[in-house]
Symmetry: C2
Subunit: 154 residues, 2 copies
DNA sequence: CCAATATACATGCATATGCATTTATAAATT
DNA sequence: AATTTATAAATGCATATGCATGTATATTGG
């Protein structure tokens, strides 16, 4: 069924790409304006904060955040260099490591959230009703599930 | 009204980011697997093909494609180097130039479309009904309009 | 007409991403 | 136990992106 998309498919596709781009740029710009790290750092820090003191293995972060392995490896380098995470060798698995958030990491994440959240509301949350958000989330959820099951990637 | 987003806002936000990421990766991977240029090239080539023989000014492309100026400048470098576009000085505006698509550019765009289209259908089009696509497009359209009017960027 | 400012585009430098490969260890197979 | 295969993570190299600034021309306002 390798057909070419119909009109409505293309319209929805383009809007999805464009809206995401606009919304993400807005939030990134807000963070930058506040002299805070980029959004990816927030995602990592949040995962780690939720994971508790033991932290997570990089490959777990990789799956959760949909990041490529080499990409995450270097992202962790940067965040570590900034002092927001801590890496140590894994006790049992000699190949691996444990990544945990530091106190400074928690602090910066807490400083990021109001900026992130406000920007999210401003560009997104405030423009849709609760009902619309539910509909949107449901439509996208369908896509995400299909994509995750159909596709080999992740 | 700098409030923190509510639960539904966050759910919808995350899904929007995640779905776009999954869908886009799928299409990019399909193009790469077919030894074709990335999606951005397609967008540029399509705009130029639609624009006709005279082509477009870079700043017009910039607005249409939501690309940063310096970013577009280098993108055009690469596409030009590949022989898919042609740049020449603008006749009246000494600062500017005209960018037009070459025959090879048209050819490659035509080769890209079936791959792009098939991937789009596979990961997106085929998983939503026409009605759902209309709903989705409409919801996103609202966001795009708000973002474009609210925000200074573009 | 000329100085000040704005617009169009390019570029040096830092950072980020992708790809392929490498290193190290673990698990599985014989 | 030795060999193969799989998994965890890092890295050299190419490409892409962002930021600030540079260069050239155009426009505006005195």
């Amino acid at each position: 069924m390798k057909k070419t998309p119909n009109e409505m498919t293309m319209r929805a596709w383009v809007r999805l790409m464009k809206s995401q781009h606009l919304l993400l740029s807005h939030v990134e710009a807000a963070l930058k304006a506040a002299n805070l790290p980029p959004l990816t750092w927030y995602d990592v820090l949040l995962e780690l904060e939720r994971a508790g003191d033991d932290g997570l293995r990089p490959f777990e972060l990789e799956r959760d955040l949909l990041l490529a392995q080499y990409n995450l490896s270097r992202l962790l380098d940067r965040i570590e260099k900034a002092g927001f995470i801590h890496r140590k060798a894994h006790k049992e698995d000699g190949r691996g490591q444990m990544v945990s958030i530091t106190r400074a990491g928690k602090t910066v994440r807490h400083k990021m959230w109001p900026v992130y959240g406000a920007a999210m509301n401003e560009i997104f949350g405030d423009h849709l009703s609760e009902m619309q958000k539910i509909e949107l989330a449901s439509l996208l959820d369908c896509l995400i599930n299909c994509a995750s099951t159909d596709q080999p990637e992740n």
